[in-house]
């Protein structure tokens, strides 16, 4: 899984607005979603998961939400499943 290069992301105060240049859709990413996308963009999927596990080991809620978050980001085209 990797970040979609056709999506332009504007990081703003720990959140983000993402513009998909192919579909013209605009997405608002709250703090956790913006963090996940930033990590996948920077490190790739596997390392992003490791980083999230390290830095948010005590954030049980976030870890539980991760599968749904990744699914949502795939469906929105922010991430590509390849």
């Amino acid at each position: 899984m990797r970040a979609n290069p056709q999506v332009h992301v504007e990081w703003i105060e720990g959140e983000a607005v993402a513009l998909d240049s192919k579909t013209s859709q605009l997405h608002y990413l709250n703090g956790p979603a913006a963090l996940v996308l930033a990590l996948v963009t920077e490190y790739g999927y596997d390392q992003a998961l490791e980083e999230l596990g390290r830095s948010h080991a005590d954030a049980q809620g976030m870890n539980e939400d991760l599968p749904a978050l990744f699914t949502d980001m795939l469906e929105r085209g922010l991430l590509l499943d390849e």
Binding site: E10, I12, E13, E15, L19, L26, L29
Partner: protein, 185 residues
């Protein structure tokens, strides 16, 4: 997409609805002056036609106590909320659209160019006592939702930068909103 509705006078049917310009099913501008409504229809067509090449936003310049802002709660010039704001002292520009300029200022034909001190957005908050502030990415997202056509990545980044430090707020009650603005929010 655009329509101009002028009801014919029919004796015995009571008051006629004002001549109104609609975008889809949404009323945009109504006035007793049908020519004025027609001119807004023309402005709407021009705005939509221009939007692929120029950053046009469905926001209205407004002022209160010498401060200039952008109003994005709704477009209809005779919306009850907006008319209440007018009675409380807010003034609205004639134009229903503003252009986002390369220098980071907004402009419209009737208001000239300006940097907004505040932006009024819709509030989903329940109750009448709360002012909801917007900032960061959610503010940028809300403002871009008012863009006719789509922005490119450069405009999105530019807009995000310009919106830093701009107060954006909404409140279910017009009085609460005006009080907040007069208190300097």
């Amino acid at each position: 997409m655009f329509s101009l509705v002028i009801e014919a006078h029919q004796p015995g049917r009571g008051r006629r609805r004002l001549p109104t310009f609609y975008f889809g099913n949404s009323p945009i501008f109504a006035s007793r002056d049908a020519d004025l409504v027609a001119s807004h229809l023309g402005a709407g067509v021009r705005a939509v036609a221009t939007a692929p090449h120029e950053p046009i936003y469905a926001l209205t310049a407004c002022t209160i106590d010498g401060r200039t802002g952008l109003y994005g709660r709704e477009m209809f010039n005779r919306a009850p909320y907006r008319r209440r704001l007018e009675r409380l002292g807010m003034r609205f520009a004639d134009d229903s659209y503003v252009r986002f300029r390369r220098d980071g200022r907004f402009a419209s034909g009737s208001s000239g160019s300006f940097s907004p001190d505040f932006i009024v957005l819709a509030s989903s908050s329940e109750g009448h006592e709360h002012v909801v502030d917007a900032s960061g990415a959610s503010l940028a997202f809300s403002v871009v939702a008012a863009r006719l056509g789509r922005p490119d990545a450069r405009e999105l980044g530019h807009l995000s930068t310009v919106l830093e430090g701009v107060t954006a707020l909404g409140a279910p009650s017009p009085t609460v909103l005006i009080d907040a603005l007069r208190a300097g929010r």
